[in-house]
Subunit: 293 residues, 2 copies
């Protein structure tokens, strides 16, 4: 049903309680409406808004969640300084015709005696999973919670967080959630830098330099498409480009299967090239897909 | 809404596909109907039927699942010989006015690349969890799957499997499943023996002897209500009674908190007394609650 035919809620709702969100969604579902869902940690940027745009177009109702999920941050990670900009997020959502923001607090999402965790094995152990222990378990668990709270028809995830996307897709299939996962292309600045809430941590110079990450990925993709199958040669080319940024720490450069995320022996399509590197104190990730020609 | 006012499906449905079950439930939910759910591994007995009876009384529609879940059996456990009696189960369900049986096969529930598991920490590590490694993760995962497939309003679980009940309750709360868990009292033979599908493994003599398990639990409860607070004395009394069966192996006798399942230092209400013991080759469990007077 096109959006114009839906019963339009006059004002965007801010829903802070789990039970109120569940009631809101249950009423919509009884009316036969589709619910699109964009889970976020706030600090909304044009990457998020691309998901929101697609979500409002493809569903009768669009719900955005804003929750900085503590369980997906490691003890030494940036949970405390993660940008929290709710008033701006709210304005942005309103201007994109979002119907409701689900904005719970941590005490409500994780009461003291929370004991349940969801693990998507294998997919969570590679790439970022090697460096961010427990991260993807935190992600899978909070997304399952949000699915049960928002009860979406469709849920939108960006491909910048490619491993997260694959883990959520797999969890959703394995646990039979009646939710369709919609992957959305990475949004980039004109420089090529993948847009991320963490880009706020970068100085202007760091930001300029960080655009070389994507340049290195494009260069690598070209090598593969030209028939260069040597993973080590391609990885070295990427590493040499990254050295010019300069990066302060390289977590990984990977050429892996785009579904299983297992390292490839030979760099042939279909594949994913993925990078995680620190620029100054900021950890950045990016990736590029090599699809079969 | 009383059951008589619901749209009665003329014949009980046997649903074997996940997508058909989800569609069936989605249609009912859109109509505003409540769905009661009794998950089982089949081999239905009067214990199960007590849940079914309550379920049909309290909901517009009653769905029973029959699935011998491989992931909750250990490699040396009785998965292969677990009783499978679907034709009898079907007749029994029909006679209790069940609306639909969900009867999937293992290949559908666990395709080759299943990777997701749910763990309810702490509650899964004690009592039977110490002896059946991975069992409760298998249970929690399959129940989450079944909740997403059947989408029940209310789900019924027997108190004979008390630890399972507490784990499911906790998972349901932690993951915000929009499902109410309804605990149902253990059904017993006139001898006191808790009814279980595994009782089929017992010889007549073993069955007669096994009734002493409940007798021991009652005796222990009386001791506590009389003011005897020594856990070791009470446990010894139980163990001495069990020795007369005779039992072939005792997994545990526990006096624990009825919510956290943590061993109590002093045997005071509220508490749970729980036993797991082998009679011959058959592992039996039973428990009794000591509520505050």
């Amino acid at each position: 049903m096109p959006r114009s035919e839906t019963i339009k809620i006059s004002e965007m709702k801010i829903i802070t309680s789990i039970s109120a969100m569940q009631k809101f969604s249950a009423v919509l579902k009884k009316r036969g409406k589709t619910i699109g869902f964009v889970p976020t940690m706030g600090a909304l940027h044009s990457g998020h808004m691309q998901l929101v745009k697609k979500c409002t177009l493809e569903n009768d109702f669009c719900v955005v969640s804003v929750f900085v999920n503590p369980t997906q941050f490691g003890p030494k990670e940036d949970f405390n300084r993660y940008p929290r900009t709710f008033l701006e997020d709210k304005k942005l959502c309103d201007s994109y015709s979002v119907d409701a923001i689900f904005f719970p607090n941590a005490a409500q999402m994780y009461p003291g005696n929370h004991k349940t965790s969801i693990t998507v094995n294998e997919l969570s152990d590679v790439l970022c999973g090697k460096f961010r222990i427990g991260h993807f378990s935190g992600v899978a668990t909070v997304v399952a919670k949000l699915f049960n709270i928002v009860m979406p028809t469709n849920a939108y995830f960006g491909m910048k967080d490619y491993q997260q996307l694959k883990i959520i897709e797999h969890m959703c299939t394995d646990l039979n959630f009646p939710v369709r996962i919609i992957p959305c292309k990475t949004v980039r600045e004109s420089s090529g830098l993948a847009i991320s809430s963490r880009n706020k941590y970068l100085s202007n110079l760091e930001k300029e330099n960080s655009s070389k990450i994507y340049a290195a990925l494009i260069q690598a993709k070209k090598m593969i498409l030209k028939g260069n199958n040597s993973c080590s040669k391609i990885k070295n080319t990427i590493i040499n480009t990254l050295k010019t940024i300069p990066i302060s720490k390289l977590d990984y450069v990977s050429i892996c299967d785009s579904e299983t995320l297992i390292e490839k022996k030979s760099a042939k399509a279909p594949a994913l090239i993925a990078v995680a590197a620190y620029v100054g104190k900021t950890r950045l990730i990016d990736n590029i897909l090599i699809e079969k020609p």
